[in-house]
């Protein structure tokens, strides 16, 4: 058995959070090793040439939430990150009409006015209100969650800080904030808009990656979570990375390498080495062992604590909480290589409407019914589908004249009803997506060259996302902020000394945001400093004693 050299920090998992974590630590002068199970970096933010000539953002497919401070600190543009704008959302409606919102306010306003003058007015107001909410929540996303059970002044100050900020909001903003934290996306939108399709397509971002329906309380928050996106300071702007989302991970990896981090792929972890309550290293499946002062895990709690660590090393209540942590994957992905562009009945021919997101969310009832199917263990007979065709904006990802189309599909419950299993359902699931699309773009069936279907089970097997949850755990109120991932351990630390969490399962959660990786790195460095101080103090005391 070979034994690797000693590191300051070993990061488990080369996803965007693991890499961000590593980059920050390396830049602080730590000797960092990143270990990635797969042959490529990026985790769920990965580009792969699934069919020759066709490059897909296999899982995560758009970028918006990536924290600006990370882009700055790690100088990602210099490392090859280029964000291309994704303009607008196109929602076809079965009655032959459509709703097409773009970044151009005037256009969008006129478009919405076609459906309802009142809503056109409200839309502006709504945008402003949401921005105010985002400004309120943003610093909270950037802070280490407080620990409400202690009387430690620093923790109480954090709570006070939030309280004060809340007090500082205008009465209307307070009202909106409270509602956003507690209401369902549709109940919230009902107060602003009357056009069904507008509410439906907007509420969609309230359910992405959750096992909730658009009418389930708590989804208004997820709506906000997706509004938090910021590109060049513009809220709610979404984009592609040139070369696919993998390019983001690669840029971060470059930044890490430049700072001296060592990154190894094809290095699956078998276990985390723990000696009397202290993490000292990791053992790979091939038996190799690596040692470090600190182990930072970017994989989800189930893998970290239930797979890589022996039960007896962990307190019972903590294990109970980890087992209780909800994943409940609810979405799948269908990546399609196209010979030509889809032709929508309601707006025939190619055009700018294909360059943005295409959302199959024609009505609130459609969305809620899709959820009802999932509640009882079936994939939605008519699912919500979020489609993008990156090759229109970034020709480099497909052969000339051909296209790649990415379909995010919800609901696809990880746990199917008894008698069904995903390996047998995969094909039916994929075909159902095509059939759904065909209702809006009949030519779809004739232009498909090839397709890749990813069920929640595939997401778990291929990408290590337990139960196929794309956020490493549901974004439900009881799993947010100081409750994420489990009560008492929301500050990136774990019951095991020197073992940290830095993935999406920690505050502030999922999406290509990088915030967990960064915050965890800062906490690790803070702890390192204090231990250093303690050591030097001990030395000093010893010297004095002499």
């Amino acid at each position: 058995m070979t034994t690797g050299s000693k590191y300051d920090v070993i990061v488990i998992g080369g996803g965007h959070n693991g890499l961000t974590n590593a980059a920050y630590l390396a830049r602080a002068g730590k000797k960092v090793l990143v270990l990635e199970r797969r042959h490529v970096l990026g985790g769920a933010a990965v580009t792969e040439e699934v069919f020759s000539g066709f490059k897909f953002s296999v899982c995560s497919y758009v970028v918006s939430l990536l924290r600006p401070e990370i882009i700055r600190d790690l100088d990602l543009p210099r490392h090859g990150l280029e964000i291309l704008p994704l303009d607008g959302t196109f929602t076809p409606i079965p009655n032959g009409d459509y709703l097409w919102r773009v970044n151009d306010h005037g256009k969008t306003r006129r478009e919405i006015a076609r459906h309802s003058k009142l809503d056109a007015e409200a839309y502006e107001e709504f945008g402003k209100a949401m921005q105010a909410m985002c400004r309120f929540v943003k610093p909270i996303l950037g802070m280490v969650p407080p620990e409400p059970s202690t009387l430690n002044p620093r923790e109480l100050m954090k709570l006070l800080f939030i309280g004060k900020r809340f007090q500082g909001l205008s009465s209307d903003d307070k009202y909106n904030q409270v509602q956003l934290m507690t209401m369902s996306a549709v109940d919230f939108l009902d107060q602003w808009f009357e056009t069904d399709v507008l509410k439906a397509t907007m509420s969609a971002s309230g359910i992405i990656g959750t096992f909730l329906g658009v009418r389930s309380p708590g989804t208004a928050y997820v709506l906000l979570h997706h509004y938090m996106g910021e590109i060049d300071g513009a809220f709610r702007s979404w984009g592609f990375a040139r070369g696919g989302t993998g390019a983001i991970s690669n840029a971060i990896a470059q930044a890490a390498r430049e700072a001296g981090a060592e990154i190894r792929t094809k290095s699956p972890i078998a276990r985390i080495i723990v000696n009397n309550g202290r993490a000292t290293g990791v053992a790979l499946e091939n038996g190799d062992e690596f040692y470090a002062d600190v182990i930072s895990s970017s994989v989800d709690p189930r893998l970290t604590f239930l797979k890589f660590i022996e039960e007896k090393q962990l307190p019972g209540e903590f294990l109970e909480d980890v087992r209780r942590y909800k994943f409940r994957g609810s979405s799948g992905k269908v990546n399609i290589a196209l010979d030509a562009l889809p032709d929508f009945k309601c707006l025939p021919g190619p055009g700018a409407h294909l360059r943005g997101a295409i959302s199959i969310s024609p009505s609130v009832e459609y969305m809620e019914k899709a959820y009802d199917d999932a509640k009882y263990g079936n994939f939605s007979r008519r699912p919500y589908i979020d489609i993008v065709i990156p090759s229109l904006t970034d020709p480099s990802v497909a052969p000339p004249g051909k296209h790649v189309m990415s379909c995010f599909v919800q609901y696809a419950p990880y746990k199917l009803r008894p008698g069904l299993n995903w390996d047998e359902q995969r094909e039916a699931f994929g075909n159902n997506v095509i059939d759904t699309l065909a209702e809006y773009a009949p030519n779809i069936k004739d232009i498909i060259i090839n397709k890749q279907v990813l069920t929640p089970l595939d997401l778990e097997r291929e990408f290590g996302l337990s139960e196929g949850n794309i956020f490493q755990g549901e974004l439900s109120l009881e799993q947010l902020f100081f409750l994420r991932p489990v009560p008492g351990y929301a500050q990136f630390r774990t019951p095991i000394k020197n073992l940290y969490m830095c993935g999406s399962a920690t505050h502030p959660g999922g999406g290509i945001m990088g915030a967990p990786g960064r915050l965890a790195a800062l906490e690790i460095l803070k702890d390192a400093k204090t231990t250093l101080r303690q050591q030097s103090r001990r030395v000093a005391e010893a010297a004095e004693a002499k």
């Binding site: 059970s149 009387l151 007090q167 209307d172 009202y175 209401m183 309380p217 708590g218 909800k326």
Partner: protein, 528 residues
């Protein structure tokens, strides 16, 4: 010349009576104006068929705040509370019965028949509810703080709550924080494995709401109810003579304390001068001027109907219009020629003394909810049934019985048709469902009273047919009930106050809202 009073209370429901009583104690001489010919609001007993009397709407109390029971000396004023040994009997479709006794020990024994794990977990759950319930109970008795500039008592309230929370210890404290926003279906799954037990406990998180067991936030509803009664599924809190005798005792107590009560006196409008309430106008044209007008009616009825909106800012009106009151409950009362035979109970009538739960599985209840989302009433509804004549034979002729049934879900807004045309269909669905558990029920029915959500609004003044004067949801609790900035029983109209279930704490027949409102109003009145 208009009659002049210091305090006028609009509506003689239990909260209105409680508020009037405490204000009388505080030295005022309140006049309660009740639209109907008897006080009681939703807690009334009526003869719906010759010789058959029954709690028309509410058939089980919250329970009432102990303070109210003792301060108003309700026993002395004729109230006899009944708490049967059997709290809830839940029936399964396979003909099994799960009996939850008021006594935890006994319930634990019963649970062993189903699952050793559940028997053990049951008392743990009950104890946790008791501990947490105490803290929440404190909050329910507080006036929600003024967020913008909290006064001394607000800060004190927050402080004591904070301390009480810490006293719970890490585990239970986190439970409060974590459970609140959770779906009650998830909560019960953390403790129990027996489906029938799960389904019985979740009922407490969804009763009277537009939530299903899988709706986030339904656990909060259960916790709030646990504050008054830590029994996981809730006890049977009945009254001799039906729940009407609760409000009759309150009426007597209020009168004894110096409250005047006028029935058949429907308030048509609240008079307002320079942004201050000056009195009310009755339907018959009578005018009453008053220093303080207090409304027991729901917030929308009070501020959007009785008040002319020109006195309110458009913004406030808009927000109040958005206060959600989607009624989901219907009520049915049956006059029976005999006691129905429930297959699962083979004759053990004592098991029928409590509340009978029909809703064998969580998915069954969720499916019932699903239909209501699309504007249809449940074809396989969740039912809460009582047979009060078993514990109080005087309610029906000798040998005969009355059955009181809550049916959920019956959405106030139907997708097609109106409730008048669906009334019988609703009744048939309820009877058909019950007959699956008590096959001989249909032939015992002498007469029935079907109360649709529309009736709840038209006859009993519950806007939207919502029995709690507004949806119980995270966004309408505490400082947000009915609206943020207006959760302190005050309204934008000077001298006009709210004291009904549409204010904190709302939820159920506890008298909490009236109790808090009286305290606040007395405080303000003293200053003026």
């Amino acid at each position: 010349m208009a009659e002049t009073r210091d305090v006028v209370v609009i509506g003689g429901g239990h909260n209105g009576l409680v508020t009037a009583f405490y204000l009388a104690k505080a030295g005022f001489r309140p006049l309660v104006l009740e639209r109907r010919s008897q006080t009681g609001g939703a807690a009334i007993t009526e003869e719906f068929h010759p010789g058959f009397r029954c709690s028309t709407l509410a058939h089980s109390a919250g329970p009432l705040l102990p303070e109210i029971v003792s301060d108003m000396q309700l026993e002395r004023h004729g109230l006899k509370l009944i708490q049967p040994e059997v709290a809830v009997t839940a029936l399964s479709q396979e003909g099994r019965a799960l009996v939850l006794y008021t006594d935890v020990k006994r319930t634990t024994e019963e649970m062993r028949k189903f699952s050793a794990n559940d028997a053990e977990k049951y008392s743990e759950f009950q104890q946790s509810l008791e501990k947490i319930g105490k803290v929440i109970g404190q909050v329910l008795k507080q006036t929600p703080p003024d967020i913008d500039d909290p006064n001394r008592s607000d800060l004190w309230g927050m402080l004591t709550t904070g301390r009480a929370l810490r006293k719970l210890g890490k585990k239970d404290m986190y439970r409060v924080l974590r459970w609140g926003p959770m779906a009650v279906a998830d909560l019960v799954a953390e403790f129990f494995e027996t489906e029938l037990l799960r389904a019985t406990v979740v009922a407490r998180g969804i009763f009277g709401t537009a939530l299903g067991p899988w709706s986030a936030g339904s656990s909060m509803v259960l916790l709030i109810r646990a504050a008054g009664d830590p029994h996981p599924a809730g006890s049977g809190n009945f009254a001799m003579g039906g729940l009407g005798s609760v409000t009759q005792a309150m009426t007597a107590a209020a009168k004894a304390a110096g409250v005047d009560i006028r029935t058949d006196a429907q308030v048509q409008q609240i008079q307002i001068k320079d942004g201050a309430a000056t009195g009310v106008v009755l339907k018959n044209g009578d005018e009453l001027s008053a220093k303080f007008v207090i409304s027991n009616a729901d917030p929308q009825r009070t501020l959007l109907k009785l008040v002319d909106p020109i006195h309110l800012t458009p913004d406030f009106v808009l927000k109040l219009q958005h206060f959600r009151m989607p009624g989901t409950v219907a009520k049915m009362n049956l006059a029976l020629s005999g006691l129905p035979k429930f297959t699962a109970l083979n004759g053990a009538t004592n098991l029928l003394h409590g509340r009978i739960h029909i809703g064998p599985e969580i998915d069954y209840m969720e499916r019932a909810f699903d239909e209501s989302k699309y504007g249809n009433f449940s074809q396989q509804p969740y039912l809460e049934v009582t047979i009060p004549s078993l514990t109080d034979p005087a309610l029906a002729p000798a040998g005969k019985h009355v059955m009181s049934i809550y049916m959920q879900y019956a959405p106030f807004k139907l997708k097609s048709g109106n409730w008048e045309s669906r009334r019988d269909a609703l009744g048939n669905t309820v009877v058909k469902t019950l007959a699956e558990y008590a096959p001989n029920l249909p032939e015992l029915i002498e007469d029935g009273q079907i109360i649709t959500p529309q009736d709840l609004e038209d006859t009993y003044g519950l806007t939207g047919g919502h029995i709690f004067h507004g949806e119980l949801a995270l966004d309408q609790f505490f400082t947000m009930r009915p609206l943020l900035d207006w959760a302190r029983y005050r309204t934008p109209i000077k001298n006009l106050y709210l004291c009904g279930s549409g204010t904190h704490p709302g939820a159920g027949l506890t008298g909490g809202s009236g109790f808090n409102a009286a305290r606040e109003i007395a405080k303000i009145a003293k200053i003026i």
